[in-house]
Symmetry: C2
DNA sequence: CAGTTTTACTAAACCGATTTAGTAAGGAGA
DNA sequence: TCTCCTTACTAAATCGGTTTAGTAAAACTG
């Protein structure tokens, strides 16, 4: 049971291991037609399945790549991961997805584990707290691509969206509709995306000669978001529009509004950064800033693939535009 | 760059490879305190990272398990996978998720690929079309657990829900509310879950002395669901309640109702088999039949783990109850 | 027909760990 | 003092492939 090895096939076919190996690697150039047939028969007869582990050891290549997602709860992560997987499928790679859960320690452990498993490269949605580790990988020439979030002071391949600009435009559109009191809700400003979005928000207000009020900016974890929203909506000058920093903030906001009996689109206008699935379940249409997830994933995979295959290229930030929907 | 091997550590520490290996495996019993220290220092100095591939080759154990999901689009799959991953995390295993996309050919390829990669076991949401392959794995004593769907005529470990009973009760509750015209929408009856749910539906109607009308039973792929629903709702005797066979059917139904301007809960009552996320986005509460995904995933992982570790146990079907919410 | 090239293979080293069998040095017991 | 255990290691085989260098036989060349 389950231990037919190449040596067995070789013996059965009456040839050497080397020839069987050549056969399996489809290098038929120097191989007699009848030998080929014999090997084929022997493989069939014994039900031989090659052992990729053994191959990997010698070839120093596992055909596996790792994806380390900062937090799998973001729909964007799933979308990008799927796009990466599709690319891998087409290029004879296999992707392993890990969830760092916004925890730098976990991220570090995953990076180490995946490298110990000899994956050929990593695509990382960085928590941003492991810069030393990122740097050492890049110095070693290990293939890495960062996605979604910028890493500071590192000359690395990155795939991003123009968070500042997209937010700027979104806020601008709210202002154009006559909104004066626009609030902004975001999770803690630990990563570049959130900071950039806040920057875009402030810039849009300033450029429109509206003043930036601290009371209108909520920076809070998801679990404490409800309380902060409560406070926001009990201000004497209530916001008429709200920008949700990402999909999870959005869900918190919807829940809050539902509880309070506030109507979306009527009592308060909402813009969300990130696409969410099931958006059509909501009665009132909402504005979303949609990032081109498939293209981003594809690009990231492509950049990684080229690094793995030693295609020379200078590290660069690839910035994709987002669209309001 | 990146090729510190055990031999390097051994040389640096002035000991043999074997001793380093013992050290790494925490078998300190027969090892001098100073040797231990020297090895520790050498590892630190060289930044040595062990190569799991090499270890796996010798140990014939990769600490990886494969999950082959029939269709990742089902929310249940994601939930169960997550639970399996959690279990693996706690037991020093790593899970690789593959999506068969309801395609038996793809499923087969994935099974072969994962076995070639020497994963220690497989958890499969079976498409049901590869019984020969399933059987040969089980015969070989390869660790396998089936989830969600029954495999016919096979003495294997399976984790399921009581589809017939849950559906029966759900339909019963509709009848109790006074509904007489209850329709049933489902994807093609290729897998046990769908057949079982239909059976429960029919049984409930019969037991309540209602007649089973073929016109009220839609069996269709998602893409053709809209047309079939159109036909259903243009019958002179319209259904007042509808049972959606799973989450994807539900989404199709919601889309259809929205287009037609029919109100959920008012014009037609809906029960859905499967939980869906973002359910709270919908204004009207809907009834869901929720399967205990975490428990199911956990159980499946546990059964696989025991098989991998040669814990003797008779193959059995583990049936979990579902709840209406 | 000797010399060269091509064809069709094989032996053996190698990848980087684990593991088994073996051994030298030091201490205990008689 | 000599034998017998421990203790603390090491050498070498092994896992199942890939790959390189090499070789015998056949085919070609002049």
């Amino acid at each position: 049971m389950e231990k037919v090895t190449m040596a067995d096939v070789a013996k059965e076919a009456g040839v050497s291991k080397s020839t069987v190996s050549q056969f399996l690697n489809k290098r038929f150039e120097y191989m007699g037609e009848k030998t080929k047939q014999k090997i084929e028969d022997a493989i069939e007869k014994l039900g031989y399945q090659p052992n990729y582990i053994a191959r990997s050891l010698k070839q120093k290549r596992t055909s596996m790549v790792g994806i380390i997602v900062a937090n799998i709860m973001h729909y964007l992560s799933t979308e990008i991961s799927r796009a990466i997987e599709d690319f891998c499928q087409d290029h004879d790679l296999h992707a392993i997805v890990c969830n760092a859960d916004d925890n730098p320690e976990k991220e570090k452990r995953y990076i180490e584990m995946l490298r110990a498993k000899q994956v050929d490269g990593l695509i990382i949605f960085p928590t941003g707290q492991n810069n030393d580790l990122y740097e050492s990988m890049i110095k070693q020439g290990y293939p890495v691509v960062f996605v979604d979030r910028r890493v500071e002071n590192l000359d690395a391949f990155s795939v991003l969206t123009d968070n500042v600009m997209s937010t700027y435009k979104a806020i601008q559109s709210l202002i154009a509709k006559g909104h004066q009191n626009i609030a902004f809700a975001v999770q803690p400003l630990t990563v570049s995306t959130r900071r950039d979005r806040l920057e875009g928000y402030k810039k849009a207000l300033i450029d429109a000669d509206l003043k930036v009020t601290d009371e209108f900016i909520i920076e809070s974890s998801i679990s404490e978001m409800q309380g902060k929203l409560e406070k926001l909506f009990s201000l004497k000058e209530r916001p008429t529009a709200l920008f949700a920093g990402n999909d999870r903030v959005f869900l918190a906001v919807v829940e809050f509004l539902k509880e309070k009996g506030l109507k979306l689109g009527k009592d308060v206008e909402l813009i969300v950064f990130d696409n969410i699935p099931f958006a059509h379940l909501v009665e009132t249409p909402i504005s979303f800033i949609v990032q081109p997830a498939s293209e981003m994933g594809r690009k990231a995979a492509e950049l990684l693939f080229d690094q793995i295959n030693k295609v020379e290229r200078e590290p660069e930030e690839y910035v994709f535009p987002s669209q309001m929907v």
